[in-house]
Symmetry: C2
Subunit: 74 residues, 2 copies
């Protein structure tokens, strides 16, 4: 495992949950009060997010951070 | 939930796992090649760690990041 692989796996898991809610990236970013470009880069797996950011994303998705990591088998 | 509460809960979970392995903080930090003072501050809940750091700590503890979050009910 390297950092970029980790970030990509998490990004895929986040994207799947967000799509399942039928929200656009921009709409979801607005809901969680995150800059749209930053949120998009998380889904692309370009960010080594902090726990606090992971928490905010998970809250917006209505799940726990551990659920997102579980989705990504992390 | 705020950022410091989140960090404290994670720090407690990490500490419990590390103590269960009967390793000192310093020894464990050495094993995972992390600065000792930085690792100690994670256990004290003073760091909003990144996913990559969480991964490294979890690997050293022989668990998944999702296990640590589960321990912390996060």
């Amino acid at each position: 495992m390297d950092e970029s692989t980790l970030s990509r796996r998490l990004g895929v898991a986040v994207r799947k949950r967000r799509v399942a809610l039928e929200l656009s990236q921009d709409k979801f970013a607005d809901v969680i009060e995150m800059h749209r470009a930053y949120y998009a880069s998380i889904e692309r797996g370009e960010r080594n997010v902090t726990m606090w950011t992971l928490w905010r994303v998970a809250q917006g998705l209505g799940v726990k951070p551990s659920d997102l990591l579980g989705d990504a088998n992390l």
